[in-house]
């Protein structure tokens, strides 16, 4: 699968190489591009570290663009079709694969409408391009000019693989369950450790057939688990109250029911008349949004929780991440404002000289990014409105249509900058509500842009490339339009994939997602929480917690005590409950108790983080 993906995404370079023939500069340029790209992508896909993956992706994109620009200036024949017709689909595919690898499938259905709308947009864009190509072919007379037509058709079909990968990303955020040979996956994450072997067998029964779990099914799996004490079950002949196995079965069923409700998969319903339980069993009522899959979806994922030994230790909380994001936003702002300014002034009949273009581009990029630096200061949001309104100054000289188009492009550029900066100021705002409200607005913006640049811009090959002299300016702006559209597709998908939130201990304080947690409960609770974080996946026992709650008290018998007879147990339990509530409401995770509460002193409590939260190394 991975090899196929790499081959597909590097295919344009290979096609051009073949097209250029076996000799000449085009052949070598294409071959070099194919090799650089293939190797780079292979390394990216194999990477298990999220930050390295993102930085590597950006680096590869910049390196390929620089290479293409250099080659393009020398070999226009090689460069032009490659970047206009052949590359958008593969690059988008690779971008979605990277997003797919690092996205957290949490928060569920809220993200799904966003992905669905991008899929609809991409699909309609592919069909639109295809129909425009057919129309062009019809106008030119069949069979039409071969090479251009081939590029157009290939360009349209090229958007199908990104749609497939985006669909996988969407499936990730839906409740999809896959059960296979005693293992279970939910939202593409394996959740087998949550269940005992008996529960998994019961789950298998619940998902299969009529969705009923009968005592006999449970007894079978209990017998397999404990072969020394077989439970004999004769359906229809026994009474639950007289059955030795029934209480064990009932305990497993209740535990499974609780877990399924917590996971949002559904619930197990006993029959109305409880005497029929041995015949009818428990009916599994599945959540209406849950779907059982027959096969596992694309398995290329970075693990949900930062596991020891995987090399995925989370984001270094430093300047590196922000630097990457800043460079990314800055490149969009610079490239976009440069193209827009050149276009605007050329339309007004006053083409810019290179120094003026550079000065104005820098100023425009600053205007675009400034309001996004501190999004809380609403007054600064006036600037993007000004950016959108500025093109109307050209109403007199460039005409109404051009002013409107430039205004839309300015808005798109601003939104692209906003989406690229979003991960940075995520911690200042309410990203979830924004993600929930955004799908509709993004859909309309992309749709308008997509239609306008596809229908109202005359298709023309990119000739006369040295654009600063201006003869081929319209072609350059056409190229920048398509690049911006491509970025919008990519950035929107990135926007709808949840980022991860670091949980970090610095001195006495605990930081979550860049903010110090205001733990109002006091020092003791903070100490207990620190203990949980330090232990990560290890259990935290009550005799350890007792040392914090009542320091110096030696009355805990460790192994041989009973919680019911322990005077300190209630105090510990209340503390745990308060911390659990706090963790759940702040979106960090939860604390799970042992299945049998009587064994809590032996088995201890565990901290389970939500799957978009990870622990960074403590200072």
């Amino acid at each position: 699968m991975i090899l196929l993906l790499i081959l597909y995404t590097s295919l344009p370079a290979l096609l051009i190489t073949l097209y250029a023939g076996l000799e000449g500069p085009g052949f070598y340029a294409g071959l070099a591009l194919f090799l650089i790209q293939g190797t780079g992508e292979f390394l990216l896909i194999r990477s298990r570290n999220r930050e390295r993956l993102v930085s590597g992706g950006i680096l590869l994109f910049v390196a390929l663009s620089a290479y293409a620009l250099y080659t393009g200036l020398r070999l226009q024949e090689f460069y032009l079709p490659l970047f206009i017709h052949l590359y958008p689909g593969p690059v988008l595919t690779m971008a979605y694969v990277v997003i797919y690898k690092i996205s957290r499938p949490r928060d569920f259905e809220k993200l799904s409408p966003g992905f669905s709308r991008i899929i609809i947009l991409l699909f309609s864009y592919a069909v639109l391009l295809f129909m425009l190509a057919l129309r062009q072919m019809g106008e030119a007379g069949f069979p039409g000019p071969g090479k251009d037509m081939f590029y157009s058709l290939y360009g349209a079909l090229n958007f199908l693989p990104p749609i497939y990968f985006l669909n996988l990303l969407r499936n990730n955020s839906q409740k999809r369950v896959f059960l296979d040979k005693g293992r279970i996956w939910l939202r593409n994450e394996e959740i087998t450790p949550l269940f005992s072997r008996t529960e998994l067998a019961l789950l298998d029964r619940a998902f299969a057939g009529d969705g009923r779990i009968r005592c006999s099914d449970a007894a079978d799996s209990l017998n397999r688990e404990e072969p020394g004490s077989p439970f004999l079950c004769r359906p229809g002949e026994c009474k639950a109250s007289l059955c030795l196995a029934y209480s064990a079965i009932y305990r497993h069923i209740k535990s499974l029911d609780r877990k399924m409700e917590n996971l949002g998969l559904g619930m197990l319903m006993p029959p109305e008349n409880k005497r029929d339980i041995t015949i009818e069993g428990w009916l599994f009522i599945r959540d209406k949004e849950m779907r059982i899959m027959k096969k596992k979806v694309f398995p290329l994922r970075i693990p949900a929780v930062s596991l020891p030994g995987t090399g995925d230790k989370g984001a270094p909380a430093g300047s590196g991440k922000r630097f990457d994001e800043y460079v990314f936003s800055l490149s969009i702002a610079l490239a976009g404002s440069s193209a827009l300014l050149s276009e605007g002034f050329a339309l007004a009949g006053k083409p810019l000289s290179l120094p003026s273009l550079i000065t104005l581009t820098l100023a425009a990029a600053a205007l675009l990014l400034l309001p996004l630096e501190k999004p809380k200061k609403k007054k600064l949001m006036v600037l993007p409105v000004l950016i959108v309104l500025l093109p109307f100054l050209l109403l007199g000289s460039a005409g109404e249509e051009q002013a409107l188009t430039l205004s839309l492009k300015s808005l798109v550029l601003f939104i692209a900058c906003f989406l690229s900066r979003f991960p940075y100021f995520e911690e200042h705002s309410d990203p979830e509500s924004l993600r929930e409200r955004a799908p509709n607005a993004l859909f309309w913006l992309i749709w308008f842009y997509m239609i306008i640049i596809s229908l109202f811009t005359e298709p023309a090959p990119l000739r006369n490339y040295p654009f600063l002299g201006n003869p081929g300016l319209s072609h350059v702006t056409q190229f920048s339009d398509h690049l911006l559209l491509f970025l919008l597709f990519f950035l929107s998908a990135r926007f709808f994939s949840l980022s991860r939130k670091p949980l970090k201990m610095t001195g006495d304080a605990i930081e979550f997602n860049g903010r110090t947690l205001p733990l109002g409960q006091g020092k003791t609770d903070r100490e207990i929480l620190r203990g949980f974080i330090l232990r990560r996946d290890e259990p935290y026992h009550c005799y350890e917690i007792l040392n914090i709650v009542e320091p110096g008290k030696e009355s805990c018998a460790k192994e041989h005590c009973k919680p019911s007879s322990c005077p300190s147990y209630q105090k510990i339990y209340k503390r745990i409950r308060t911390i659990r509530k706090y963790l759940q409401t702040t979106g960090i995770g939860t604390i799970v108790s042992p299945e049998r509460k009587a064994a809590s002193h032996r088995e201890g409590w565990r901290l389970i983080l939500f799957d978009d939260v990870y622990i960074t190394d403590p200072d």
Partner: protein, 232 residues
């Protein structure tokens, strides 16, 4: 048969009379494009599809769809006469689902049919007059006034519907208007702007532009459905 207040008959008569007079006036204008069966048929099909899949909003007991955007696009593409004919035919052909039953021409009370046809025709012709006024005042601007007018189609439709609810059921005007307008304007406004683009693309791209209209209509409908479900 339900006995209605005299005010309802008077209101309906006023609407139907105004719509008829305005249509006759539009037909007599020399600049307006004449009837074209192809254009009428095409836009009627799109409008019927859009209205037949309209969302039933239980709280307000009304149907909502982006059909105003389709009629605005029809008006821009074919002029007021073709759009008027399309409005008339659409309401004869639609089949909508209201909770557990279907509504069509033969089981819809005639007053609803007449109200829907006449009030949409009036809005379209009022907008036509406003656009004519703009063009005479600012002849250099062609698209900006059309874009500015686009959201008015849905807004006026909500206003007239609210008046009708007031006349027939005595429901407070402001509450009825809010119920129809607030949950859906975020979808219908951009759909109307999309209609402007499609209206301009139609003469050049023909049926291809209609395909482009399907995506926004589909997304508008699913958004409205989600909105109606949330409001429930």
């Amino acid at each position: 048969m339900k006995i209605l207040k005299p005010g309802v008959y008077l209101f309906l008569a006023l609407l139907i009379g105004s719509a008829a007079l305005l249509m006759i006036h539009a037909a007599m204008q020399p600049g307006n494009p004449s009837l074209d069966m192809g254009t009428i048929l095409v836009w009627t099909v799109v409008a019927v599809l859009s209205e037949s899949f309209s969302v039933y909003y239980v709280n307000g007991r009304f149907f909502v769809s982006p059909v105003e955007a389709v009629f605005y696009a029809a008006y821009l593409a074919g002029g007021p006469l073709n759009a008027g004919a399309s409005i008339f035919l659409t309401f004869l052909l639609i089949i909508t689902r209201e909770e557990d039953r279907y509504r069509h021409l033969f089981n819809t009370p005639p007053r609803f049919l007449l109200f829907n046809i006449s009030h949409l025709m009036i809005i379209m012709l009022v907008l036509d007059s406003l656009l004519g006024l703009f063009r005479s005042l600012l002849p250099s601007l062609r698209i900006l006034p059309v874009l500015a007018m686009a959201p008015l189609f849905f807004t006026f439709s909500c206003l007239i519907n609210a008046v009708y609810y007031k006349v027939e059921e005595g429901s407070p005007f402001r509450i009825s208007f809010k119920k129809m307008f607030s949950p859906f304007y975020q979808t219908t406004y951009p759909a109307s702007l999309a209609a402007v683009i499609i209206g301009y693309a139609y003469p050049r791209y023909g049926l291809l532009s209609l395909f482009m209209m399907l995506t926004p209509l589909f997304v508008s409908l699913i958004t409205m459905k989600a909105q109606a479900r949330n409001e429930r």
